[in-house]
Symmetry: C2
Subunit: 284 residues, 2 copies
Amino acid sequence: MTHFSDLLIQKTKEKKTPICLGLDPHFNMLPDCIKKGKTEIQAIKDFLFEIIEATHDKVAICKPNIAFFEEWGAEGLKVFEEVCEKAKEKELLVLVDAKRGDIGSTCEAYARAFLTYPIYDALTINPYFGEDGIKPFLKYASKNNKGLFCLVKTSNPTGGEFQDLMAGEYLVHEHVAHAVSRWGADYLGESKFSLLGAVVGATYIDDIHILRQDMPSQIFLIPGYGAQGGKAKDLFAAFYKDGKGAIINSSRKILFASKEKDFAAKAREELIASNEEFLPIWKK
Amino acid sequence: MTHFSDLLIQKTKEKKTPICLGLDPHFNMLPDCIKKGKTEIQAIKDFLFEIIEATHDKVAICKPNIAFFEEWGAEGLKVFEEVCEKAKEKELLVLVDAKRGDIGSTCEAYARAFLTYPIYDALTINPYFGEDGIKPFLKYASKNNKGLFCLVKTSNPTGGEFQDLMAGEYLVHEHVAHAVSRWGADYLGESKFSLLGAVVGATYIDDIHILRQDMPSQIFLIPGYGAQGGKAKDLFAAFYKDGKGAIINSSRKILFASKEKDFAAKAREELIASNEEFLPIWKK
């Protein structure tokens, strides 16, 4: 089996796309045509299946956000599993966006939930508990060739409320960045990237430059491009040459490119357009 | 409908118990007798049903940790719902321990998942995203008379790694405490406690004194008593008079009091013994 980072780099390079297709199926934003005569969760399933069918050859990794499935209870989680399975059938990598974090013994259970099944390739995690809330994830990810993305600097408006407090010489999120770099150091692939990546919001461009230096071996998962306001060319700084070092999440801009019957075709067009915006990174 | 804090205070007082029964069904720790001839998740269900039957009249609130169900996938989440339903039938309050946190639009989905169904009364949340990752939870909790407990200071060994960084005049977790106090201020019940409570680990006794002053209107959820080393009398400082102001989580000490056929009876005995350890708080 291949190290997660090596596999991610290989697949993004093959398809010339740094985009991570965020699967956040806000029910209220689904096209009316997909909702008719169905339960909510069935509509979500049908919608995402069509999206995956229409986009899979132009993207390497997708990121279903489990919140939008959990809101429909156990039935929602069943559809979550089916969507992940569908994405795997189409040879996409599946990054579970769940932002889990807890004390060590509980993280063991979350790690078993998301880092042992073949339908999942990677998981987002929360650093608030410090190192012993991270170690179980590293143990399972390493054993099963899975990937992790730890929150460092988030893309939302109040992301800085605690993350940007100055503590000694560094901001809190820089302390987290240093820890992520340290935690991930023993888990490098052939590409020299760690299985432990970092979530770095696209809405704070200056931070990306600093954090690229603080975490040289981390693949960045960058949310906030598109709907949240981040621009493509500002994000080139996150990449090393040949497109390595980052993936760019795009959710609403692609998923909800059209609210009409052509939604899947329009999603594909929007994805292709996004890939083109990032063409310069492959020549860096 | 009654405000969550008022209901929690009323129920703990009636039964003279500040204990929050942590339902963390580590599969490997279940008694062998309950495992025989069943799937893992069926054994977990049967185990917790027996525990609830044996303890419900001596406790006011239980806290199932969703991680130990998620590890069994959609089927696990179905059992999670059944366990919560069973607890509600027995008139326990159900605090979902999920420690969710994300950007605002995703928190809306998590809030719908855990703060709109009758089988759930409250949810634990993570503050890393700052205020706009908290507001949706407050909106739904307020509308539906549910409760929230935000992580402030966690009980695990590395809880201080980021939480105890000194930032200006205060430690990071104190900044979080001040924010929790502020966020919760508009959501007080008749008891003058907010629907937004705080998770404060029992393993850091000095912090409890300070945090009690920083968050006068928060009900504290205190993990770390029992198996993690916190002692009852050290925790009296978390309470105001008449037992108000805190609930004490106890999981393993009660759930796994015996690994034999008498596990449910022993769990009840252990719960009663814990309630007795806290008798002085009702006379304060």
